[in-house]
């Protein structure tokens, strides 16, 4: 079993929390993993990504080779397209539809979404609205993780457990919101 995942977004959108959740779940499942992330300059509103490699055998490279990613999880729609060179022929894209517009030449969102729809295996959900509906506008990243969960080679409950150990310290209320966000994302994704 191997699961190569690219997690993408814009600095500050919480992609490291997505990676940390999958990472904790992987350790609990005794899987091998390597997860490369971006710190430093690009964090300031620039494009950021994390290469996440999960396997039942030791993982050599910290980076995913081109054309080998099984899944792109993106918290921002345009950013999901930036990593297409890594996506395998049968790979999936799970992305948020809400754009983060912090550049003057951001393309029309409809053009971006239709470009994403050209990929045969794509799921587009409005994570920001879903997060607001359940009462936590800041949990959009976890909604996306929930939407991607059917494509991650680990059980859903192990992701829930990972959220418990990640957010447990921050209090019952914050943990519950994140568990709800994960569930809502998953339900939207299965329906879509």
């Amino acid at each position: 079993m191997k699961n190569d995942i690219i997690i993408s977004g814009v600095g500050g959108q919480g992609i490291i929390s997505i990676a940390a959740t999958i990472g904790l779940a992987a350790v609990a499942n005794s899987l091998y993993l390597k997860q490369s992330e971006v710190h430093g300059m690009s964090q300031r509103g620039g494009d950021v990504q994390s290469h996440f490699r999960l396997s039942d055998k030791p993982v050599a490279s910290d980076l995913i080779p081109y054309g080998k990613a099984d899944l792109i999880i993106s918290v921002e729609p345009m950013e999901s397209l930036r990593y297409l060179p890594w996506l395998s022929k049968d790979g999936w894209i799970v992305t948020n539809s809400t754009p983060m517009i912090n550049i003057p030449d951001y393309p029309p969102i409809e053009d971006i979404l239709s470009e994403i729809r050209k990929i045969k295996n794509s799921v587009i959900i409005d994570a920001d609205s879903i997060a607001r509906e359940i009462g936590s506008a800041r949990a959009g990243n976890i909604v996306i993780l929930g939407a991607a969960s059917p494509f991650i080679a680990m059980s859903y409950s192990s992701l829930e457990d990972a959220l418990r150990s990640l957010f447990g310290k921050k209090g019952e209320e914050i943990l519950e919101l994140n568990l709800k966000a994960l569930k809502a994302g998953r339900e939207h994704s299965i329906r879509a």
């Binding site: 050599a60 345009m78 971006i112």
Partner: protein, 534 residues
Amino acid sequence: MKNLLLLGDEAIAQAALDAGLSGMYAYPGTPSTEIMEYIQSSKTASDRNVHREWSANEKTAMEAALGMSYCGKRAMVAMKHVGLNVAADPFINSAMTGVNGGLIVVSADDPSMHSSQNEQDSRFYGKFANVPCFEPSDQQEAYEMIFDAFELSEKYKLPVLFRITTRLAHSRASVTTCEQLPEKKLSLPSDPVQFVLLPSIARRKYKSLLESYEKLKYDIRITRYNIFRDGTKRDMGIIACGIAYNYLMENIRDSVKEFPVLKISAYPFPKDLVQDITGRCKSVLVLEEGAPMVEESLRGILDDGIKIYGRLDGTVPRDGELNPSLVARSLGMKTSYGRGIPSLVKNRPPSFCKGCGHSDVFNALIEALKSYSSGSVFSDIGCYTLGALPPYSSINSCVDMGASVTMAVGAADAGLFPSVCVIGDSTFTHSGMTGLLDAVVKRSSVTIIISDNSTTGMTGGQDSHATGRLVSICRGLGVDAGHIRELTPLRKNHEENVRILKKEFEFRGVSVIIAARECIQTATKRKRTESSNR
């Protein structure tokens, strides 16, 4: 023994703690920052009261670590690659004095310049100083090497260079830890003049340094990381250094028995190790992250030995970091590029956070400079360097820590008017203060703007030595109190700030403008911690 999920940086920090570290010294710099941050948040470090405060710059960090080592205790100092330039003087000379307690110097290189001004390869510094250099290939190896590095350092009485690159520093993997060793007790060097580099002593010490460098090549703590494994092929063998070994394994995992491979993760290494490959194979491919250091030394100036493939003949690109696909190509293997990036995807460069004080500084500066010709703003290294990008496009230099002050001084010497500098608070206390003293002594006509966000912002908000001290530092250096102007960079103060800037440009002497407003990232973090503590 525990299994921990750690960044490469964190594996190094955890290993140092487990190996009985007494003092950690550093100045923040991507990709090395998380080493100190991990130690600062470690319970073990706080229980043992391991020294773990930031230093003013890499030179002071290196020297303080040497002082800790002088007392017989284990010390580690960490910096980004260009930080080693700042610390080069004590680093090179610490090889001459030698150490007492084990001393590890971590230098984190940034090939492809994700967050840096150059991609210099720190391994050259190891050779330059005649000290051992480790280059781990993965997180677990990094963890284990730290123990060997401390032992090696104490056995040969030498500092040890520990070179990592961005991908290892910032990649997480599971690391199995060992039992913790106790810290060393305070004990001074047995030779009272060991650290006295008077020429007569230095000459003697240099001879013994050169002898040690030869002996090191055969020490088990080095040789165990340089492993040759034969394969069936005879047309080409492969030398893979540090993290390049992982990219190689990614590609030859299924045919690993075919390729003769020499994995190099510790320097210096002897000739016979390389001859294991060159004696067997018709050619050799050299894979190394950073500069073609091993490749160049194999080729020599004549390059008339066996056929060598690598960065110098274009088999691997001459610059930039490696990745598994580049290595596949260098092996002649097929790569599987996915789809191209659609043309509608636009670049998204880093930018100021919404509400950042630096942007108000630049807005005021742009307006104040309108009546002068352009090209007169020297800047420095930090978030405010983003002032070079649109819509501001308002700085003309970013060279090295502190250079904004001294370049403005030199430009004023040349007759440039006005000559303006924009520097951050932490960068100012890192390397700007001495330049300001130059300006004061020479009565240079410069305007120094310190954009003070009370933190080391770009690296994620570490404490700044400058916080609360800027006015007294500038006065102490001799800046006229009437020309130390404090302002708050807020939109509502824009007109007033423009007026102050214009006035100080016209002053023929040194003026310092301290534009102070807390970084909005650290302010948010601080408010969140305060409310959760309540």
